[in-house]
Symmetry: C2
Subunit: 439 residues, 2 copies
């Protein structure tokens, strides 16, 4: 019998194990070799970043034969200052051990400054293209967004929950839902955690979830994925629906600060333009339509929703007028919002709901929900729904639930707009669309 204990020596030598006089041990991929006169630069890739090492010819041919791009190695050496190197230092190699060998040169070039691949090629070789430091940096920043969301909500007394993705009925309704054969029963993949997060407000007052959601939408655009990550929260005891927007502003501020503090290398590498968020302007849906008509001479064709061009125009307008890259659009028409949306008591054809737009794109939908059982039944009947189908959803309302509301934000959309990526697929590790379920 052995005994296994947590050992400090398995803590990653990412930031390297160094001795008192700059002795270094480090492991990584051989990312790039540049042969110079009398020595070679061996650029290691460690945790998605590059580290410059120097190998002298005197190390012998046998060893140098194994120093091949794509192999992984462990290096012992001496740290020294070098301002022209990626982190201001380089490592003189004293000993090198090959840990693993690549079998072939990759079909795509991941060790130049930019990959310059078509999106399709990038995605076909996704597990390799992600090794490019600029691709790796995208998802480090995405990690920061998720951490910011969770940490901020935790500090604000939200409880983290996990809700089922296999469901008996879709929360958003409509045709955009994937069907699944579940032990001879037809069930669905969840379009959102909506019903569950509302129910869990009855348990913890404030809840959040970060998880996958599924939309069987049959359009291939640069801003839709069929499987995406939703940042959801739901909060009880709200005074009105602006509490939800206030919480989102708090999250954004907190998250951008976290990125600046802990993801500075990636921000620099990708030249990320972190928006300034202090307060965010809020315009009513009808105001937005009016502004677009007046300022841009564009007659609305649809008074139920905003189309992508209108989203772009109102963002341009707000940026110019108020200096904000975010804008809340509030009071969307009841006809277009789901049955659980609370209507505005002052003008019931509009809801106490909002979208958040960021750099021309909707990144969040939220609002106050109906909490009164009779009000909810009434609105469902008004919408022609069969109340009996929603018995378990209505349980919360029937046995009491506080005034509440919440939102869902698309992680990939937030990432895409923050990094100004042209296509949402670039903001997803392994995107799923109508034509792609691999790799």
């Amino acid at each position: 019998m052995d005994r296994i204990n947590y050992a400090q020596d398995i803590v990653k030598p990412l930031n390297m194990v160094t001795g008192p006089n700059g002795e270094v041990q480090i492991s990584g991929f051989i990312h790039k070799i540049r042969v110079m006169s009398g020595f070679s630069f061996v650029i290691l890739r460690v945790n998605g970043s590059l580290v410059q090492c120097v190998m002298n010819e005197s190390m012998g041919q046998e060893l140098q034969d194994h120093v091949i791009e794509g192999n992984t190695v462990s290096i012992e050496g001496q740290l020294r200052k070098e301002e022209r190197a990626p982190h201001g230092f380089e490592i003189e190699i004293h000993a090198l051990h090959v840990l693993s060998k690549s079998a072939e040169h990759p079909p795509i070039v991941i060790n130049r400054k930019n990959m310059s691949l078509s999106l399709d090629t990038n995605l076909n070789y996704r597990s390799i293209s992600l090794r490019h430091p600029k691709e790796a940096a995208i998802f480090k920043i995405q990690e920061g967004i998720v951490r910011g969301f969770r940490d901020f909500l935790h500090k604000n007394h939200f409880t983290e929950v996990r809700t089922p993705k296999i469901v008996f009925a879709g929360a958003e309704g409509g045709a955009n839902i994937f069907k699944l054969n579940y032990f001879e029963q037809e069930v669905f993949l969840a379009q959102s955690p909506q019903f569950y997060k509302q129910a869990l407000v009855g348990v913890y007052d404030r809840v959040f979830e970060v998880g996958p959601v599924y939309r069987a939408e049959k359009h291939n655009t640069s801003r839709h994925l069929n499987e995406y990550t939703s940042l959801d929260f739901e909060m009880g005891y709200i005074h009105d629906f602006t509490d939800i927007m206030k919480m989102e502003v708090g999250f954004l501020k907190y998250m951008f600060e976290l990125l600046k503090e802990e993801y500075a290398d990636q921000i620099k590498l990708l030249d990320v333009d972190i928006p300034h968020v202090d307060s965010i302007p809020a315009l009513k849906f009808l105001e937005v339509k009016k502004i677009i008509e007046e300022k841009y001479q564009r007659i609305p064709t649809d008074y139920d929703d905003l189309d992508p061009e209108e989203e772009q125009l109102i963002c341009d307008y707000v940026k110019q007028e108020y200096g904000s890259e975010f804008v809340f659009v509030t009071h969307f028409p009841s006809d277009k919002r789901p049955f659980y949306a609370q209507d505005d008591p002052n003008s019931p054809q509009f809801t106490l709901s909002f979208d958040l737009l960021f750099r021309g794109l909707e990144v969040t939908t939220g609002g106050q929900r109906i909490h009164d059982y009779h009000d909810q039944i009434y609105k469902m009947r008004q919408k022609g729904m069969n109340v009996d189908d929603f018995e378990s959803y209505l349980m919360s309302h029937k046995y009491g639930i506080p005034p509440h509301g919440g939102l869902g934000a698309g992680l990939e959309r937030l990432t895409m707009k923050l990094l100004k990526l042209p296509n949402i697929r670039q903001a997803c590790f392994y995107p799923r669309d109508m034509n792609r379920v691999t790799p």
Copy 2:
């Protein structure tokens, strides 16, 4: 146009907004009313916990008519010490506003010390039964387990990733996989993030994911769910497979400390027996079989795997002999482990793999993976697999990947065993089994 800002006043009055002389504002569910002589106890339920308030008869009948179990209210009052109350204090009610009303009394009683419901009834009324403080406490502790996993790995330089749940091929193979109709194509729900997390070791060296996984297993037992949450990590540059076990020991220690520090109320309420983890004993698979045969006179019927009774017996043995409630079983037979498991070079019929057992149940499976392309191809052919089906999986191996390994732990199993719950369904918000897809 309005401007929306994050406001400190929406930070939860969970722990109450108090004035300098003990004035209090608090909102919550009316959980229970106990009418006494001249006054009533009004027990509020706030964020899953109970707060004792006192309402005097002098407050008037009209108000008291609205003080009904299931309604939500906001209270203004005076805090005072009361050692017999849940948190050592109570609130004398000065003003009370009803925020929402319940339409009916619930069909299950959630305001007694214990619910004493059958599991089926508990699950049928899940959104209501979860409101019982003991049920709510289970998932607060589960939140702590997840936080412990993420925080510990983040401190150890792991990157958080998200991998697709809609996949073209299952990682574990076999019949236990759900099929999905995806735009006229047959695809599957992921059984584990295995292939993806291995590939992402090529990007970030160390990665983890907390997400749902799907097993279409056709048995209804007390320890299986068809949708569960997997705590997964994968780490590169390991010296050998014990590095993975060391990391798990570190996670467990860290997580139990976090629970003791931040979830003390729930630990007390549920009388949780937090195990002591210093080092964890590790026994080889064959040693385990031998111990069970010799100590318990139980002749093994299967030399490929451990059955549930053997898991229980070896845990009893290790508890008695070494005082540990955890035990690693290592070196499982190659025949029963997946094609990506690294064989032991000293005895290739066994793998460099392990299970972690906790109080009689397997809660983790892990091991070192094959990293060499040719070795992987060889083993796949040996197992009669079609190598061409795994082209995108093998890309990582072909173009180089460091020595690596990882594990997957079942969140609900860990929770179940930690809390000594008799059925895994009690450790899942909304469990899914062969017969249950609602609520």
